[in-house]
Symmetry: C2
């Protein structure tokens, strides 16, 4: 298949682009390098040293004989995006090209507005470009399990049958997102459902859990292909941060009691899930939702697993409970369905098997690059303006002004 | 109370500002005149000749001795909006300042993007301004009944108790909006719920039905105070259009079978509902939802009522069924709850009593200003680009570029 990966220089996007290319698909990567820019803004960097995209793609081609086309630009620029679709003629577009950090969206008003405008307009542009130029193309869009929040009922995959006052209907599952970023994904989901309905587009909304790990079969082929490993307070996901903390001899920082339960998955499953979605497109007019994760853990459970893994390696790992920066329940019911991708062939990698190889060992290998000042949360949900903005306002303004309708 | 009416030069906003001022509240109007600009863009105008805001306010002051402060600017400009909040120190902000036409949002990509960015960013700015400057102020936000779509179950007021697999929770009512405009209101609703939760703001989301009528006690005091009456295909609501068609001797244009059922209300109830909301603020942290309409009608029922009213006046009124420009069910279940405002004291005006005075007679009085070329739908939901854009692209670009974060 011809598959276009928007945001293909980022964490999930890069692993996905290589995996799909390795599987024999014809792949194009689209990116504007905003993710690299945000590192400069935040004074952070990937634990693993990542190379420029052009070099990554050159090495991939030399090693495998497979070439990946690159388009450098912003999906918020419709003329650019339409040009990509027209020139590449994809069978599927995988859309990772959004601002994906909850804390980033909560820094202050400018970051909230930037996140929602960037994400919503990018997805709107894509929907209009497909309608205009490639209406049969399958849109594979990254959503998040965070769209659902933590309701006191089982979470279904996108839709729920509701019985009410003697009548019944299947309706979109109610959404209770927990940050301006998560809200942007909810907005996208509603826009996509509508576009599928009125224009007969076909889309898969992958409500992804928290991704962990760095290693995939493709990125280990050469150090030039290495993927990002973010552990900072803004872009780092919890498990990566715990492993970096363990490697740096820093206590694992659990927010509150650590009873926050979420869905998690190995990045090797992310790439496979995307391929499964691409290979099994929905019908025209259908906006299908998959919950894309493999296991549920509470934050405290994760900390304890990292602690145990550290001890196996002879590292004394302690756990510290901090007041959480977010507004969220520290104890709650959580049971989210996630069978649709398994039904289509996903064979999960489980955390117990990946923790040492794909996480702890990477963290230890690059421990000299760890900046411990990035471990502690600096963005408080209850504040309208956070200190993170002091160093970031100039960059954010630049980002916002790049949005072209 | 000190009440700030955003969008106070528009249709609902103007009637509301005068009503609240007449009731003794201290009122400020905020507007950037985009609504007047859209008339130029679309080659349309209000059936009733409306005066400049400054003149309207001067006459109101001369007639009643009550002064209404005006702030001219865009709520998308945060510095401007924050300045208004800081200077006026409102107890309640009534937010009408959004692009409110479904067809306008469906003209093409630029209009869709403009509508969502304008509405979402304006509301985000307002939430941040209240958090920063006036956290106890009550936000009274205009939503729409169109957020719910037409589910096959009863529509509740904002939230629904769902029993599922032996567990139960009260969750936001699932949304199935039918245009990029209606989607923008859904996005706003989610953003507001979140802001109330994390910052303890207090908000009322008024999911308003289709408003009809022109006459309120205040606007009839002088012709200089007259309100808008829109009947064109883009901003005209269905009942106003029918009355204008009847007055012009044009067939009433019903889309499809006309079984589309919606909630409706008299503009005299709009203004009272807003006051009721202001006088009964929710608690800090609460995002309350009222369904703001008084009666349900199908489009065909409305056409038949207008036909009957026309015949009483000796006008031969015919009904024509057109292929509908929207993607919507022509026959469906519809039963939406709307008791909360009545419980708080709303005494509805019913359409049967208002049709002649507030609608037909106005349409007849100004029939010389009717442009019949504006009756027929020019914006098709199934198209990504509509002809309306030909004359409008320059203006839309200007509007979009005015968005300042």
């Amino acid at each position: 298949m011809k598959i276009c990966v928007l945001g293909g220089d980022g964490y999930c996007g890069w692993a996905t682009a290589l995996y799909l290319s390795g599987k024999g698909h014809t792949v194009a990567v689209v990116d504007n390098f905003l993710r690299r820019q945000w590192d400069f803004e935040l004074g952070a960097q990937s634990l693993t040293p990542i190379r420029p995209l052009a070099e990554r793609l050159r090495v991939w081609g030399q090693l495998t004989g497979k070439s990946i086309e690159q388009f450098i630009g912003d999906v918020n620029d419709y003329e650019f995006l339409a040009g990509v679709i027209e020139s590449f003629q994809p069978d599927a577009v995988v859309h990772f090209a959004e601002q994906r950090s909850a804390p980033y969206s909560m820094i202050d008003r400018k970051h909230a507005v930037f996140t929602q405008v960037n994400n919503v307009v990018g997805t709107l542009n894509l929907l209009f470009a497909l309608q205009e130029l490639r209406p049969d193309c399958h849109l594979v869009k990254l959503g998040t399990m965070g769209e659902y929040g933590t309701p006191n009922i089982d979470i279904e995959e996108g839709y729920i049958r509701i019985e009410h006052n003697g009548r019944s209907d299947v309706l979109p599952f109610p959404k209770q997102p927990g940050s301006f970023y998560h809200l942007s994904k909810v907005h996208d989901s509603h826009n996509m459902m509508f576009a599928c309905k009125i224009w007969g587009l076909r889309a898969t909304d992958l409500n992804q859990g928290v991704v962990y790990g760095t290693v995939t079969e493709e990125v280990v082929l050469d150090e030039a292909l290495i993927n990002r490993f973010d552990y900072d307070d803004v872009f780092g996901t919890v498990l990566n941060r715990f492993c970096a903390q363990a490697a740096a001899g820093h206590p694992l920082t659990v927010y509150g009691k650590g009873g926050q339960t979420r869905g998690f998955l190995d990045i090797r499953d992310t790439v496979r899930c995307v391929e499964i979605a691409c290979l099994n497109p929905p019908n025209s007019g259908e906006c299908r939702v998959f919950n894309q994760f493999t296991e549920q853990f509470s934050v405290l459970e994760l900390a304890e697993m990292v602690q145990a893994a550290g001890r196996k390696l002879g590292m004394p790992v302690t756990i510290e409970h901090l007041t959480g920066p977010r507004v969220e329940s520290e104890e709650h019911y959580y049971n989210a369905k996630h069978s649709k991708l398994v039904d289509l062939g996903l064979q999960p990698h489980y955390l117990s098997d990946s923790l040492l190889d794909s996480l702890m060992n990477i963290a230890i290998q690059y421990q000299d690059r760890i900046d411990s000042s990035l471990f502690l949360p600096q963005v408080q949900w209850r504040n309208g303006r956070n200190q993170r903005a002091r160093q970031s306002s100039v960059t954010a303004a630049v980002s916002a002004s790049e949005v072209a309708y």
